[in-house]
Amino acid sequence: MSEVIVITSGKGGVGKTTTSANIGTGLAALGKKVVLIDTDIGLRNLDVVMGLENRIVYNLVDVIEGTCRIKQALIKDKRYPGLFLMPSAQTRDKTAVTPGQMIKMISFLRDQFDFIILDCPAGIEQGFQNAIAAADHAVIVTTPEVSAIRDADRVIGLLEAHEIAKMECIVNRVRPEMVRRGNMMSVDDVIDILALPLLGAVPDDENVVIATNQGEPLVGTATMAGRAYRNICARLVGEDVPLLNFDSGRHVLSKLSGVFRKSQGAKL
C-alpha cells in the first residue's frame, strides 16, 4: 500500500522543502521506498536541499509532456537504496501541468513506492492544486507566527473542500525559550487554534541551515531538529513515539536530551 503525502503550508518560507527532504530521507532510512517530487515549477529547490542539483537530466514537466519516461527523471539518492527525487522544471511555469496529469503520473508511481512525498509550492493557485490533486494525506507545516497560522488555516479549509481525509500538522521553528518567556505561541497554542492532529514539532535549530549549506538532510543526526524529524518519520510508519515537550519548565534542553536518549534505541 503506497501513501501519497503532500507537504504544504500556504505561506512561503516556513520550511516545506526542508520538511519534505527530511521526511523523504528519514522514511528511506527506515527502509521504505520513497520518491520525493518537487512540484514547485519555476522555483525548484528540493534538489539543492537534497544536494542532488548536479544530477538533473530530466524533470517533472518532461515526464508530463512525454519527453522522457518516468524512470529517466528519477534521480537515485546514493545515501539510501530506496530514495529517489523527481526534480521540478526551472524554466517553465505552473500552467505546464494540470491536476489531471499529476493524478495520472502519481498513479504510475504508486505501484513502485511505499511513500510518494510531494513538496508543494507556496500559495493557493494552480501549483497548489496540482500538488494536492493526488494526495491521500496532507502534512501542513506552520511556524508559531500569526501570518503562518492564518495561511495554514486557509489551506486546511481548501484541503477539506478537496476531501483529503487525513490531515496533520508540523509546528516548525519552535523556540522553547521564547515560549517560556511568553513571547511565542506554544505548540499547544497552535494546535488549539488549527484543531488538527500534531504530527510533530521541530525546534528552531541552526543545524538546519548548516545541513542545507551542505545539501545533506539532517534527519537522524544527533541534532535537535534531526531527532525531531526522525520522530516524525517514525510516526508516519505507525510507531507510537511520544511528542517532545518543548514548553515545560526551565530545563527544557536537558529534558529534551533525556527524551532523546530514551528513544535513541528506536530506529535509524
Binding site: 497560522i149 488555516d153 518567556r181 511568553g182 511565542m184 488549539d192 487554534i193 488549527l194 484543531a195 488538527l196
Partner: protein, 91 residues
C-alpha cells in the same frame, strides 16, 4: 522600561488576534452584511422592548467542537442591553 510595564504577554496577544481573525476568514462575512443584520435585528427586537442600539454588539464566533475541527460550528452572538422592558409589552 516599557517592556516592564507591559502586562499582556505577546504570546497571548497573538493567540487572541488569531482566534478572531480566523473566525472572520472562515465565515467570510462582510462588515456590510453584519451592519445590515444588526439593523434588522434591532428593528425586530425594538417592537417588543426598548434596547440600547449604541451598545448593541453582533459578532460571529465559533463553538469549540471538542477540539475537533470538523465539529466546529459558527455561532451568532448578539449582545443587546435592554433599557426598558414591559412598557412595550407583547400585546
Amino acid at each position: 522600561m516599557r517592556i516592564l510595564f507591559r502586562h499582556k504577554k505577546t504570546r497571548t496577544i497573538a493567540k487572541g488576534r488569531l482566534k478572531i481573525l480566523l473566525i472572520s476568514d472562515r465565515v467570510n462575512c462582510s462588515p456590510q452584511m453584519m451592519e445590515l443584520l444588526k439593523n434588522d435585528i434591532s428593528k425586530v427586537i425594538s417592537k417588543y422592548m426598548k434596547i440600547d442600539e449604541q451598545q448593541m454588539e453582533v459578532q460571529i464566533g465559533q463553538t469549540d467542537g471538542n477540539g475537533r475541527r470538523s465539529e466546529r460550528k459558527p455561532v451568532l452572538y448578539i449582545n443587546m442591553p435592554i433599557l426598558e422592558i414591559g412598557k412595550h409589552g407583547i400585546s
